[in-house]
Amino acid sequence: MRQARYDAVVIGGGAAGMAAAIELNRRGHSVAILEREETLGGILMQCIHNGFGLIEFNEELSGPEFAQRLETQVRSRGISAFLCTTVLDIREEGGTRAVYCVSPAEGVSRIEAGAVLLAMGCRERNRGNIRIPGTRPAGVYTAGLAQRLVNIEGYIPGKDVVIVGSGDIGLIMARRMTWAGCKVHAVIEILPYPSGLTRNIVQCLEDFGIPLYLSHLVTDIVGEDRVEGVEVTPIEQGALMHDKAFRILCDTVLLSVGLVPENELSRAAGIDINPATNGPVVDSMLMTSMPGVFACGNVLHVHDLVDYVVEEARRAGAAASEWLAGYRPEAEIRVKAGANIRYVLPGRLNPARENRLYMRPLIVRNDCRLELKVDGKVVRSIRKAHVQPSEMLSMVVTQADLAQAGRDSVVEIALA
């Protein structure tokens, strides 16, 4: 078995993994990226649409272009990137961390690492996860798989399409399929509001007159060998209106019903998972419950903007570097999700540092305030013109904000 040792090992070579590795290298550490695919870039490689990099590069790039910017830095810095390499196991062994991986070139390798960074991204929820009844004909795909088929492998999965769920991948695919010559008949969303970014509703549906059915559920997928249609039922006051159900004929159903952080590896390693995010529980340094193991990007929580992924990954890289140099926070204060907030991440603040928090709202609202409260007192308040669950919010919490907070204080973030 091949053996190696690095200051830090990054699992996953998407945007998060590359950004974390660059930061660690910049701070003088030896780093290796382990990536199971044949290329770096992760999900960005199939996202050929534009809309990436506005915050990071002040330019609007497509996914592959954004990935290339990061890859160029990875290469020019001489960071080791092992491709076609799948990580199977992370263990604590003899006071350090060991990562076991497998590749066609090397077989099984054991790589010791001072710090490990989890950057495995996320995966799509599928038909089984949302339990759509009906037969099991061909023609049902997750939207991300369809995206890969169309954009990289050059296959059109069908001609007449219905998209289930209004997540960003589904919206992007509505435009992509239309531009590829297919007819997209409808997008069906169970919630009363769309779950993708507003700009995608505008430029991927409204531009093409594709109807978006909010508060509607796909109650049946019809067809023997191939999909022949879907049955759609409106929801009113929480109840299915079966007498108002209707059918849409189609040969293809794309599911865009959410993403789940890819944490099989983390769970197997015994790392605590937060049920609100499906990602690891992390402290103010983005360190998981396993000492020396950090997490960033979509494996930590699902992000809508790659720019935030990169920002978070850079902080994880910086934190891992400080941790390797022996830094440990003296004290941490818990922060919890208050009114109208689904989760706050990380769940702990370092009162001696500036902290960056990310949170997801539970509500759609205009003109509201994002508030930081310490023992019921508002210490910071940011005006928000518009919030919705599909758009992540972010806040900086400074030392001064936490000056009055003690170990037992209740610190929370709320939308008012």
Binding site: Q68, T198, A385
Partner: protein
């Protein structure tokens, strides 16, 4: 529609026009109103929102992204089991007039891109005479990696 015409139309409608800026993913909710033939835009977080509102009323444009077929140096198209991309992603260098997008797509779908190719390489110069180029957005070497 002339700028004057739009202005008149907006003036005659009692409510301001609401739209969402799609220039960047922040998606600001804009309110556009016209006073004395000048556009008044509010709700924008940056200057580009104002420009967007103006454009969206007068001359809507979108960045177009698509793919073209990849061709290996020996003239072969990569096969399904070659494990390399069969399509090369491309985009317009700037937002493209919305009403001519289909025409552009029809052109791009007939095109083939010879490997190797570099991100940023020109695919179509001055597409359909608009002054806007189509460029490639992914680098692939001669073996398609």
């Amino acid at each position: 529609m002339s700028e004057r015409g739009v202005a008149d139309e907006l003036k005659s409608s009692p409510d301001v026009r609401r739209m969402i800026c799609i220039t960047c993913p922040l998606g600001c909710h804009l309110e556009v109103s016209v006073h004395d033939d000048t556009f008044l835009v509010s709700g924008n977080r940056c200057q580009r929102g104002e420009a967007y509102a103006r454009e969206e009323v007068l001359n809507p444009r979108r960045t177009v992204t698509a793919t073209c077929a990849a061709v290996l140096p020996d003239g072969r198209h990569p096969g399904p089991s070659d494990g390399i991309p069969r399509r090369v992603p491309v985009r317009t260098s700037q937002p493209f007039p919305r009403e001519r997008i289909q025409e552009l797509l029809d052109l791009l779908h007939t095109m083939e891109i010879q490997l190797p190719v570099k991100s940023g390489d020109m695919v179509v110069e001055n597409a359909l005479g608009t002054g806007i180029d189509v460029i490639c957005t992914r680098s692939l070497d001669a073996s398609g990696r």
